[in-house]
């Protein structure tokens, strides 16, 4: 049994690498989405600040 071990190690490693790579790709895509949300949120915050300033300018 042990003399077949070195030949199969590559296949076992490949299978686990595929799994981890799949999860890693998913996580990278999720983090890219998160970065986009944060960018959009910052934009909207700026927009909201502008609206508040405009409203205050109108009132004064």
């Amino acid at each position: 049994m042990t003399d077949t071990l070195p030949d199969n190690t590559g296949y076992v490693a490949a299978a686990y690498l595929v799994f981890f790579a799949l999860i890693l790709i998913y996580v990278v895509i999720m983090s890219a989405k998160l970065a986009r949300f944060e960018r959009e949120l910052a934009e909207l915050n700026e927009l909201a600040d502008e609206r508040v300033e405009e409203r205050e300018a109108v009132h004064t």
């Binding site: 199969n8 076992v12 799949l22 999720m30 949300f37 909207l44 927009l47 609206r51």
Partner: protein, 246 residues
């Protein structure tokens, strides 16, 4: 903070469970008498397959809820579950092929019912996104997609049945009670890997759901603030459109 502390705890639990499961698979579970070291693929491949198929069924259950209540949130839940199961399904096919090559010397064996039935299920669900994309009206898209998810979800148990009816029992019969099944020292790592994989599915599903909700809220906020593209209609998409009141 877009993602809550509960999601962080779930992520941590998933990482710990999977690490423990894989650790036990390599350092505690005995070598398989027939396949030797290559049988370790079993601990990633089989839980992945069970969770992927379970995800398809979960998508079907959510679709039933959507058809019953017409609540768009159930359509989104079904969509995310099926989307995620497809990703895991791709992993099942690749790891299965690697195992087949190591075990039988071929990347794919067409007369093995387990492999072929899983491929059929995978290809069936691969048409889910194009189906959604082909329908422009969101209401109709959600309804048709739900009908598809229910029908396809009912087809999934056939996959399990195919494994049972298969003549060539190359895959270990995990849940067998008599004449065979997993030895006790293989059961603990296997069940831990299975729980870990289910937790992984739940974690990724929750992240995806949170991201979809955040995206919908950002869109709604942009509309309210009357930004540059506030009046612009979004192009055709396969993803469910979620309306937020906030």
């Amino acid at each position: 903070m877009l993602y809550g502390t509960r999601l962080r705890s779930l992520s941590l639990l998933t990482a710990v469970t999977l690490t423990a499961g894989f650790g036990l698979a390599f350092f505690y579970a005995p070598m398989d008498a027939d396949q030797g070291f290559m049988q370790k693929i079993f601990y990633v491949h089989v839980p992945l397959a069970i969770v992927a198929l379970g995800g398809f069924v979960f998508g079907g259950v959510m679709a039933v809820q959507h058809l019953r209540t017409r609540d768009a949130r159930y359509d989104l839940r079904s969509y995310v579950a099926i989307h995620l199961s497809l990703v895991l399904g791709a992993g099942v096919l690749i790891t299965g092929s690697i195992w087949a090559k190591a075990s039988w010397g071929h990347w794919w064996v067409w007369d093995e019912p387990t492999l072929v039935s899983f491929l059929v299920v995978f290809l069936l669900y691969a048409t889910y996104q194009p189906l959604r994309f082909s329908i422009e009206d969101p209401e109709r898209q959600a309804r048709y997609a739900s009908v598809f998810a229910v029908t396809a979800g009912a087809f999934v148990p056939l996959n399990f049945l195919a494994v049972r009816l298969a003549q060539a029992y190359t895959h270990p019969r995990v849940f067998a009670t008599a004449n065979g099944g997993l030895p006790a020292k293989m059961q603990l790592p296997f069940y831990l890997c299975l729980i870990g994989m289910a937790l992984l599915f739940a974690t990724l599903w929750k992240y995806e759901m949170a991201s979809k909700h955040t995206s919908a809220q950002l869109r709604s906020l942009r509309r309210k603030l009357g930004g540059d593209d506030a009046g612009a209609t979004h192009g055709r998409t396969a993803a469910p459109s979620l309306r937020t009141s906030s």
